[in-house]
């Protein structure tokens, strides 16, 4: 096992450089005709992910948090290679795997990056037996010799807390928690060392969720796994992550080591998110909601995208988009008025 302690100078396992993902809604025939006739119609574009820079080190769990529609799942899909990035570069283990010139990944690197999905009822082929689901990829990619495949399958299943005797069953014969274990086993079977977990415990009951989180912790220690953990549940993210990134409307607004982020959040959005997390210690809460809703990503507000909902917003926030600032401690955030200091003194 390699050391999980990474020095900041060490080369990150995954590096995202200014990664963006745009989705464009194509114009229908009438609109295209109108455009040709000189009517001012443009395609609608959504910046689902907008200029993300992120380093993930070996053996680290990075939590990615945000409300629905903030682009966290899209970012996960871009990182795992399910979607090509629109602009920007992704480096994996020092090699550029996704860049402006080539969106194709070398097979051996692609195999090392795997993704686990939210809904274990949809992500497993209902017509394949569990043994086939887990062993198909190692067989096709010749990760283990054919005569050792069966023993390898048993080992992977046991590692994930599944009884190898169940390998000839179908997914529908398993409960949600066990299916999620099958999905984890499937990623481990190809010897992945970087896993993108997209809301993998959201669909599970609390007691089952605890079992899966414990399994992840075991596997992390055993295999030195690196994880991008996407979730909307701040409690879960705080529990599993080493560092946490907060996203809002496709941009990263804050990124810091977990303890720092939860004890000393800088961005007003992070602070209001944290205030609203229900916890066992908060009894008879007087809820104070963040005003308003997430703006439409088709028409994001100018300047800082959080300003229509921010209590500290000033004229500057309405026009100038804040740059990411880095504190000495490695705490990164994008806000003109961290902690509302300036606004309060005005």
């Amino acid at each position: 096992m390699r050391s999980t302690e990474t020095t900041p100078a060490a080369r990150p396992l995954v590096r995202l450089k200014n990664v963006s993902k745009k989705f464009t809604r194509e114009l229908d025939l009438a609109a295209r005709l109108a455009q040709k006739l000189g009517v001012d119609i443009n395609e609608e574009t959504v910046h689902a992910v907008n200029g993300i820079n992120l380093d993930i080190h070996k053996g680290e769990v990075v939590g990615l948090v945000g409300e629905s529609g903030c682009g966290k799942s899209t970012l996960g899909r871009v990182v795992s290679g399910l979607l090509p990035a629109s602009t920007g570069e992704i480096e994996f283990d020092g090699e550029t795997i996704d860049s402006a010139t080539s969106r194709k990944r070398p097979k051996d690197l692609a195999l090392r990056i795997q993704m686990i999905f939210q809904d274990p009822y949809a992500s497993l082929n209902p017509r394949m037996r569990v043994g086939e689901i887990i062993s198909e990829a190692p067989r096709v990619h010749r990760i283990v010799p054919p005569n050792e495949l069966s023993a390898y399958l048993d080992k992977v299943m046991e590692q994930c807390g599944l009884d190898p005797a169940y390998k000839s069953r179908y997914p529908h014969q398993f409960s949600g928690g066990q299916r999620q274990r099958i999905a984890i086993a499937r990623t481990l079977a190809v010897k992945a060392d970087f896993i993108v977990c997209d809301e993998i415990v959201s669909a599970l009951d609390v007691s089952i969720q605890a079992q899966i989180l414990n399994l992840l912790l075991d596997l992390k220690q055993e295999l030195d796994l690196t994880t991008l953990f996407i979730s909307h549940d701040l409690g879960v993210v705080e529990h599993v992550s080493d560092r946490v990134a907060i996203m809002y409307l496709g941009r990263m607004v804050e990124f810091a080591p977990t303890e720092m982020l939860f004890s000393n959040p800088q961005h007003p959005y992070t602070r209001s998110l944290l205030e609203e997390v229900p916890s066992l210690d908060k009894r008879n809460m007087n809820y104070s909601a963040i005003e308003g809703e997430i703006p439409s990503p088709f028409d994001p507000p100018p300047g800082c995208q959080f300003h229509p909902r921010c209590p500290f917003a000033t004229a500057e926030c309405r026009t100038v988009a804040p740059e990411l600032q880095v504190l000495e401690s490695g705490h990164t955030f994008a806000c003109h008025h961290p902690q509302g200091e300036i606004a309060e003194s005005q």
Partner: protein
């Protein structure tokens, strides 16, 4: 108008030994098996349990929404003193959406997608009150404003799909509130929502119960939501209430091993980097469930005594536990053998 002024002690709803079974081809499913609780005016009761614990079926039983092959086989449901467990369909129609209303988990399916919001709201109002369309529209607009929907006069003309998820859930809450119900049953209404929207919905609901003295039954799997909202809690497991009491009692001093396991399963800042206390195994199928304590196969305190049905022992008002070996006060949970 407020029920509290008439008779301070009469609970809005009182359920006693309710049993709702489903008679399926493969056997009897005892979804609700002897559940009792009561909710006073203005009180918020949280019903907590995992999927398949019978928490939703309890709510459905009150509303008279149990369909074949299920039926209420035993027990009584008294709504403001009136027995409604086997009330006629006619009487239930009067109550539903009137004095008792329900908010469902998924507002997308709870609202009719082909009718505008105003049509649905006016219909709800006029089914219970003799008022004109115009008055009904005005009341609907007022209610939308109350649950925090901006420009309600415009939004009334929208179809459900034109609202975002949080807004849609607020519309369905507004509809539940239209006829000034005495009891609202909310079945996981915030589970599908983001934290920020969840906070908004919780805020509105809480305000309402405090101002109007409405009783609320909040069904959820999330103990943390209950902690911030409810006055008292029932923990359900396999169709039974295994523990009940005030929020503080349940969270600070849980006695049933399942409650302890449930609380230990919740990740928080204190558990960072450590393993969670997990409850081994999965929730049992309710089909042909074996007699005795349903939790015994996952319980670290189980003995041969647990093959029998544990009786409900009560200590203090509203504080009950259904276990042969409850963890007594002051006992260290960590050393109790969880996650050994």
């Amino acid at each position: 108008m407020t029920p509290a002024s008439q008779k301070a002690v009469e609970p809005t709803i009182e359920i006693e030994n309710l049993k709702t079974y489903f008679f399926t081809r493969s056997g009897v499913v005892k979804s609700v098996d002897g559940v009792s609780y009561s909710v006073a005016p203005g009180e918020i009761l949280g019903i907590v349990g995992e999927s398949g614990s019978g928490k939703t079926v309890t709510g459905m039983s009150i509303m008279g929404l149990i369909e074949k092959p299920g039926r209420i086989v035993e027990g009584s449901i008294r709504f403001k003193g009136e027995e409604i467990a086997n009330a006629s369909e006619r009487r239930l129609r009067q109550l539903r959406g009137g004095a008792i209303s329900m908010v469902f988990q998924d507002a997308t399916t709870a609202l009719n997608p082909v009718l505008r919001v105003d049509t649905q709201m006016v219909e709800t109002l006029r089914a219970h009150k003799k008022i004109s369309r115009r008055e009904a529209l005005k009341a609907a607009e007022k209610m939308l404003a109350r649950v925090g929907i901006p420009t309600p006069e415009k939004r009334l003309k929208s179809y459900p799909h034109e609202f975002s998820g949080g807004m849609r859930q607020r519309v369905s809450i507004a509809m539940a509130l239209l006829n000034d119900p005495d009891l609202i049953i909310a079945d996981e209404p915030t589970t599908a929502l983001d934290v920020t929207v969840q906070a908004q919905v919780l805020l509105e609901t809480q305000k309402l119960c405090r101002e109007k003295g409405t009783s609320l039954i909040w069904v959820t799997h999330d103990l943390t939501v209950v902690a911030g909202l409810a006055d008292k809690v029932c923990v359900m497991y396999a169709g039974r209430i295994v523990e009940s009491g005030s929020v503080d009692d349940i969270l600070d001093n849980p006695q049933h091993p399942y409650t302890i396991g449930l609380i230990g399963s919740i990740p928080s800042s204190n558990t960072r980097g450590r393993k969670l206390q997990q409850v081994e195994g999965t929730t049992p199928s309710l089909l042909n469930i074996k007699p005795g304590c349903a939790f015994r196969e996952r319980c670290w305190r189980a003995t041969s005594a647990c093959q029998e049905e544990p009786p409900e022992s009560s200590f203090g008002p509203g504080r009950t536990v259904r276990c042969f070996h409850p963890c007594l006060e002051g006992e260290k949970y960590e050393s109790a053998g969880l996650n050994a």
